[in-house]
Symmetry: C2
Subunit: 257 residues, 2 copies
Amino acid sequence: MKILVSNDDGIDSAGIYSLVEALKEIAEVTVVAPHKEQSAVGHAITMQTPLRVFEYQKDGKFFGYAIDGTPADCVKIGIRNLMPKTPDLVVSGINHGSNTAINIIYSGTVSAAREAAIMDVPSIAISVTSHAVMDFSFSAKIAKQLALEIFEKGLPKGTLLNVNVPNVSQDKIAGIRLTKQGKSKWDDIYEKRVDPYGRNYYWLTGNLFELDYDLEYDQAAVKNNYVSVSPIHFDLTDYKTYLEMKDWKIENLLNGK
Amino acid sequence: MKILVSNDDGIDSAGIYSLVEALKEIAEVTVVAPHKEQSAVGHAITMQTPLRVFEYQKDGKFFGYAIDGTPADCVKIGIRNLMPKTPDLVVSGINHGSNTAINIIYSGTVSAAREAAIMDVPSIAISVTSHAVMDFSFSAKIAKQLALEIFEKGLPKGTLLNVNVPNVSQDKIAGIRLTKQGKSKWDDIYEKRVDPYGRNYYWLTGNLFELDYDLEYDQAAVKNNYVSVSPIHFDLTDYKTYLEMKDWKIENLLNGK
């Protein structure tokens, strides 16, 4: 089996290295990752400028391809140009910081996996809930076992698994749960500051509004020390509202106007 | 009523100007838009660097706030810091180029409207299907009429309307349709080129795989000269796969491993 590995923390991050080590036990791994950190880039792609591809060395050996682009760029160019054959799986991570609830929308880690799903390649995004985490080995094991599950059972076209791992030692893990995207979201605050030249600038901070208490939701699951696994897709149609809006009769919107 | 207007083509684009002119007829309009073009940035937000806010003049008068960030940044800082009160509606556009089917995922125009929906503010993203379009007045009228509909009927929290207008004269418009996100997607091609220093670079191009023929889908509707209106949201959970995956029994993933 062939796996493409990417991330958004950059090709020199500790998380991608642990992930690659674990996945090498079960597959041939090709790394295509951003040259520099690309957190919170969402599903950005590079069209106005070209991409560069660098062969990145680690410990004196070729480790993978570093791209001066976004996570989604890495997956596109990796599958289209850098791998001789379409991979069987794409795994993105291991990300520093959770990608639960609304963070799924902003996440570069998830966008790499989503791009794979768009290209009909099954994929996993995997994140650990702390920016200070040092040991990725448990998360890497989870990624490896889920990869084996996907090799065995497959995933529907267009679906990816978004995995979040609590940052606790393995003996404190409460279990593994199938979850849905939570409703928790950020209460944004822009700190207004003054630069050395007397001009204002604004820096985004904020607090997470915790709106998920049921363990069926990713945010509640990881908060209660469960590994959270959510199947997500990229059909954004709001079917409920679609049906309700039939009553709007928008076909008449411009009548008489 | 108060409306925040943003876009991804930048505050100096013709599309945002036509939109503002039309919406001023029905509401007090505040413009908060990217200083420079931000196409295909997806739902990127700026966290690692601060934002700057510039007061942008047009025809010798204050036109709006220009932000050195993404469309989602503009909506966040506009609602949190620049408007005295949360607006009743956010409208993003009018975009050059359609945002149907898979383009919804990459679009900066849609991400501005989606950010509003995340903040519980109803919103509209509006695009015209051509990059060469010169006259935005019909699209601006559609935006105005839909804004009035939303003022009257409301939208569920978390839902936005993604609107695409064919680039034909008004007499050729076949009608207005309620639609779903289509399945059409890009067949990506990276053109490999050589720079003046002998190094390779890759430029993204591609062709759209047309996979939508039913007028229920946005891409088919605009292709057949209908104005397309799709309700979309940001719950990415794949509920069908969620139910199917109960059989995976992932709670046992690490048993004996």
